[in-house]
């Protein structure tokens, strides 16, 4: 085998490997990598008590309430099919709104209530002034949430 044909076969091999790599990435991206579970997935899976996990979904409209101790808040995380009741002790992030995305990290206690040690608000990629949001909502073009 001369140097030229050897170089060619090397390049072919590299191309092949890169092709395999791209194919594997595409195959992997078909099923999403899970950063958090939706309530429906959780109900199907029934994770063991005390298992640490993340639950993500929307905060159900009208579900938020502050308990009597003044720091524990209780709300329902929903994915419009199933629901999970969650509690959190401490300050909620600014962006925590009913109807908006939220990710809680914690575990289930024995009453099947999700005790979130950490609540992270996930906000969408839409940025607009309040008046525009209001106008859009009036026209029914876009359904977002109001400030509570």
């Amino acid at each position: 085998m001369g140097p030229k044909s050897r170089r060619l076969s090397f390049i072919l091999m590299i191309m092949m490997l890169l092709g395999i790599s791209v194919a594997l990435v595409l195959a992997a991206l078909k099923d999403n990598i899970v950063y958090f579970y939706s309530p429906t997935e959780l109900l199907m899976k029934e994770p063991p008590m005390g298992q640490r996990l993340r639950v993500g979904g929307l905060v159900k409209q009208g579900s938020y309430l502050l308990e009597n101790d003044g720091i524990t808040s209780r709300f329902v995380i929903t994915d419009k099919k199933s629901e999970v009741t969650a509690t959190h002790k401490g300050v909620l992030p600014d962006l925590f709104r009913e109807g908006q995305g939220v990710v809680g990290e914690g575990h289930f206690n024995k009453n099947k209530i999700f005790e979130a040690e950490k609540v992270l608000a996930k906000h969408d990629e839409n940025y607009m002034p309040p008046e525009v949001a209001e106008a859009l909502r009036k026209n029914g073009v876009w359904k977002g949430s109001k400030k509570p």
Partner: protein, 222 residues
């Protein structure tokens, strides 16, 4: 060409065997790092099972970095690399052989001893196949990417500090996907995406890393 490849692997293995301590060093370091965590964090079984995969991967990464700087440096010092370049076979063959030898002497022992750490961390038995598969896919990538960094820092003024700085950011994907696969196996979520991505990282580094290492070493001894 295959003969040259075999001879080089043979040479590396003999050298390592004669030097003796190096092979044990990797394994001992790997076990030591992994054992430090329970000592520091306390014997909480739940917590240990949770951090187990991560600890195994961090220890694997550190112990393979421990030996990677030696694969080219000794030969660089005593002029062997020049002789490799001047041999009639393409230099890439030797680079690839050296990287393979490094995997055989650091990746393989880690692969063998990782179930031991798994027992220490009470990782459920059912997830061992995924753990071992992920380490089998990940450690070659560690050697390959480590090789690029070792070549880049060859003969640098502060090579010892430079090598981790170059290697660790490049190794982060291996660490993430490796840990994610094992964690997913423990939690019972799908493991295939992480394993596929790990495979993708391995295929890509297999394609890209040896040529880059070859070019870098050639310009280092220029």
């Amino acid at each position: 060409m295959i003969r040259a490849f075999k001879s080089t692997i043979h040479r590396e293995l003999i050298l390592l065997y004669r030097r003796g301590s190096d092979l044990c060093l990797t394994v001992i370091f790997f076990l030591l790092v992994a054992i430090l965590f329970p000592l520091a964090l306390g014997p909480d079984q739940g917590l240990l099972a949770q951090i187990g995969p991560g600890v195994i991967w961090v220890s694997a990464l550190l112990s393979s970095m421990l030996t990677i700087d030696r694969i080219f440096y000794a030969d660089f010092e005593d002029g062997s690399l020049e002789q490799f370049v001047l041999s009639t076979h393409p230099f890439g063959i030797f680079v690839f052989a050296k990287l393979s030898a490094h995997w055989l002497t650091s990746g393989l022992p880690i692969l063998i001893f990782s179930p031991v750490i798994g027992i220490f961390y009470s990782i459920p038995l059912a997830s061992y196949p995924v753990l071992i598969l992920s380490i089998a896919l990940g450690t070659p990538a560690l050697s390959l990417i480590g090789g690029v960094s070792a070549a880049l820092s060859l003969g640098a003024r502060r090579g010892g500090v430079l090598l981790p700085l170059l290697a660790l950011p490049l190794l982060v994907p291996v660490l993430i996907f490796g840990t994610a696969a094992t964690n997913a196996a423990i939690l019972g979520t799908p493991v295939t995406p992480s394993l596929l991505l790990l495979g993708a990282v391995l295929a890509a580094t297999l394609a890209v890393a040896p040529p880059i290492t070859t070019i870098t070493i050639k310009q280092a001894i220029n």
